[in-house]
């Protein structure tokens, strides 16, 4: 089975590293980066299925701007927003810009996996559905 292409973007290094480790441990290979600019570069190179994007990244491009650019480059990529503060306006803006959904930090891994599964499922292809099911299976195990 083809692995899903997932990118996690978060400026908090500890968070990003740990999350990626945990996903890797669950056999979900992910790419990661810590800024909007870097994320755009990666998106240009790789057709990611899902991008997990932190909204608030101080300095440089923030999540919303990155989202806008990502959607321009790869409209088919599903974006799950992460937000540490519950500002509805930004989350709503994100949704309007085409984000799939948003999650409030701190997130439980199961929640993220569930969202990933949903996002993949939404893409509709058989391959994606299989990926989605695999992830769901993981959630149950946890």
């Amino acid at each position: 089975m083809q692995e899903p292409n997932i990118l996690v973007v978060d400026d908090e290094g500890d968070f990003l590293e740990t999350l990626m480790n945990r996903l890797k441990k669950r056999k979900i290979a992910t790419a990661g980066c810590s800024s909007g600019e870097e994320a755009l570069r990666l998106v240009k190179e790789t057709p990611f299925d899902v991008v997990v994007l932190d909204i608030k990244m101080p300095g440089g491009m923030d999540g919303i701007q990155a989202l806008r650019e990502i959607k321009k480059i790869r409209p088919e990529a599903e974006v799950i927003l992460l937000t540490g503060h519950a500002s509805l306006e930004t989350s709503m803006e994100g949704m309007q810009l085409g984000a799939y959904d948003y999650l409030l930090k701190p997130i439980k891994l199961e929640d993220l996996l569930e969202k990933l599964a949903q996002a993949l499922e939404r893409k509709g292809t058989a391959a994606h559905r299989a990926q989605s099911d695999a992830i769901r299976h993981l959630v149950k195990k946890t």
Partner: protein, 553 residues
């Protein structure tokens, strides 16, 4: 304190208004009365003076007429004929028929001997040479005497004329009836209590006054005070009664004709007017005082009400401001806390992942590790909950506009809690208005508020009690009350009850955010959430929601 200020203000307004009103009113009243009284008094004095003058003229006419008659009779007959008493009696009769008031008639020779006499007294042969009037007649020719007693020992006065006949003088003398004369003088009186009388130069009464005093007694006025002109003045008698006198000297005799009037009687009309004026002013004052007090009270009450309303509004504004500021701060704090929490949660997750691996499973402390990590996770969850609660229970912070059925919301919530309440012997009573309109709002958030309030009510009661939930529809708002039979909320806590993190529950049990969130939710829906409570009498939370028509679909 505030009450006191308003009370002071009220009295200030009342005193000032009354002062400004009464001063000109009383001043005007006094001035008008004084003017009127002066005019009236002047009029009365003028009237009494006029009366005195006209009466004096009448009395003068009376005296001159009689003097003239005597003169004519004396001039037309000789002494010889005069001494015929039958003729003299006839003459007296004719004189009384023509003029009247003659009592007797006598002829006196130049030696003072009365040679003939007709009249009720036996005076023939009396000698008048020593009488003071005799000399006067002899020297002046015509004389009207003062009243005196004379031989008859009764007060009377005489008119006498002297006639010279063949170098001899004789006198025709007549006595005037003092009663008739008195009556003629008395005709000049005014009113019921007025009087009219004559006094001589010594102030002795010459006619009988209508009421007090007798002829030859000293009269009530001193003639020295009266000059040529008719004069009037007031005099206070021994009985403290004010009497007005007007006097005018007669022309025919040095007698003073006095008209007297009781000031009070004459001024009765004036006094009545004054009393009426006092009454009207008095009633006016009462009316003004009553109106002033009434309107001032009303005004001050209005002020008090406005003040209270403004204070309430201020308090609400302060509360809203406070909550808004706290909300902003909370959002900032939430972000700052959530990021480290996110890292901690991932790290503990990672630890758990690792602990699953075989090498750790073998470790003696494996269980201890697992437990510790689990505890960390639990407390991260607790912290997360606090932060999330702080920003609203739901992920959504802003209310979503949808159709809200308030009664349905209540019923759902009651269903949720009924079993638990029954377990604690708490009776939930609902009294829901059947005509509640569907409004635009956020049903989930409203349910959160109702749930929160009812949960609090159950917590407050503990065991055994009642919660009554009531909904009513007003013109522009829906009112929802949740009343519990719990211990009530002390007044000192009521102000803080909507503050975030304020809780009376034990640590860990309540976050102190429930009412704060409820307050903001209702506020965002355009309504109000308020508390009415008294210690020992339970607490009632009232929600009002504006009736906003849901959007048409």
């Amino acid at each position: 304190m505030i009450r006191n200020i308003y009370s002071k203000l009220q009295w200030k307004i009342i005193v000032l208004t009354l002062l400004v009103t009464f001063t000109p009113l009383l001043l005007l009243g006094v001035i008008i009365y004084r003017q009127f009284a002066d005019m009236y008094t002047e009029k009365i004095k003028e009237q009494i003076r006029f009366r005195a003058e006209s009466r004096a003229d009448a009395v003068d006419l009376f005296l001159t007429e009689r003097t003239a008659i005597l003169g004519v009779i004396a001039d037309t007959d000789s002494l010889l004929a005069m001494n015929e008493e039958a003729d003299l009696a006839h003459k007296l009769t004719i004189m009384n028929q023509r003029a009247g008031a003659f009592v007797d008639l006598g002829i006196i020779d130049q030696n003072g001997q009365q040679t003939a006499y007709v009249g009720p007294y036996n005076l023939k042969g009396k000698n008048y040479y020593e009488q003071p009037w005799f000399g006067q007649v002899m020297s002046k020719g015509v004389y009207i005497s003062d009243v005196y007693l004379g031989f008859r020992q009764a007060p009377h006065f005489i008119i006498a004329v002297r006639r010279q006949e063949q170098q001899k003088n004789w006198i025709l003398r007549a006595t005037i009836d003092p009663d008739i004369f008195s009556r003629i003088v008395q005709l000049g009186h005014i009113g019921k209590t007025g009087d009219a009388f004559l006094v001589n130069r010594e102030g002795l009464l010459q006619t009988k006054p209508r009421f007090t005093g007798n002829i030859l007694e000293p009269g009530p006025v001193n003639p020295v005070h009266f000059g040529k002109q008719t004069m009037s003045f007031e005099q206070t008698g021994s009985d403290q009664r004010q009497t007005l006198f007007a006097g005018t000297w007669l022309k025919a005799k040095d007698w003073l004709l006095v008209i007297s009037g009781d000031v009070e009687a004459d001024m009765a009309e004036l006094f009545a007017t004054r009393n009426m004026q006092i009454l009207i002013i008095g009633l006016g004052i009462i009316a003004i005082v009553a109106t002033t007090v009434f309107t001032t009270r009303m005004m001050v009450n209005q002020l008090v009400q406005t003040g209270t309303r403004m204070k309430e509004m201020d308090a609400q504004l302060v509360q809203s401001d406070k909550l808004a500021a706290l909300g902003k701060m909370a959002a900032g704090v939430a972000h700052e806390i959530n990021n480290p929490l996110a890292v901690i949660l991932q790290k503990t997750g990672w630890l758990q992942d690792l602990l699953e691996e075989e090498e750790f499973q073998k470790s003696a402390n494996s269980e201890e590790f697992k437990n510790s990590v689990k505890k960390i996770e639990e407390h991260v969850e607790r912290a997360r909950k606090v932060v999330h609660n702080m920003l609203g229970y739901a992920r959504r912070m802003e209310p979503r506009l949808e159709d809200v059925d308030v009664n349905q919301t209540i019923n759902q919530t009651v269903d949720l809690l009924e079993n638990f309440a029954r377990g604690n012997n708490i009776d939930i009573q609902t009294d829901l208005a059947g005509n509640l309109p569907i409004i635009a709002g956020d049903q989930a958030q409203l349910q959160q508020v109702v749930l929160n309030l009812m949960n609090n009510a159950i917590d407050a009661i503990g065991k055994d009690g009642t919660i009554s939930v009531k909904s009513t529809a007003g013109k522009s708002e829906i009112r929802l009350t949740i009343a519990d039979s719990g211990p009530g909320i002390p007044e000192s806590l009521q102000k803080k009850i909507f503050d975030p993190f304020f809780t009376t529950k034990s640590t860990g049990k309540g976050t102190g955010l429930g009412l704060w969130i409820s307050y903001s939710i209702i506020e965002k829906m355009g309504g109000t959430l308020s508390l009415q409570s008294r210690e020992g009498e339970g607490a009632t939370f009232t929600i009002t929601l504006p009736i906003v028509q849901p959007a048409k679909k």
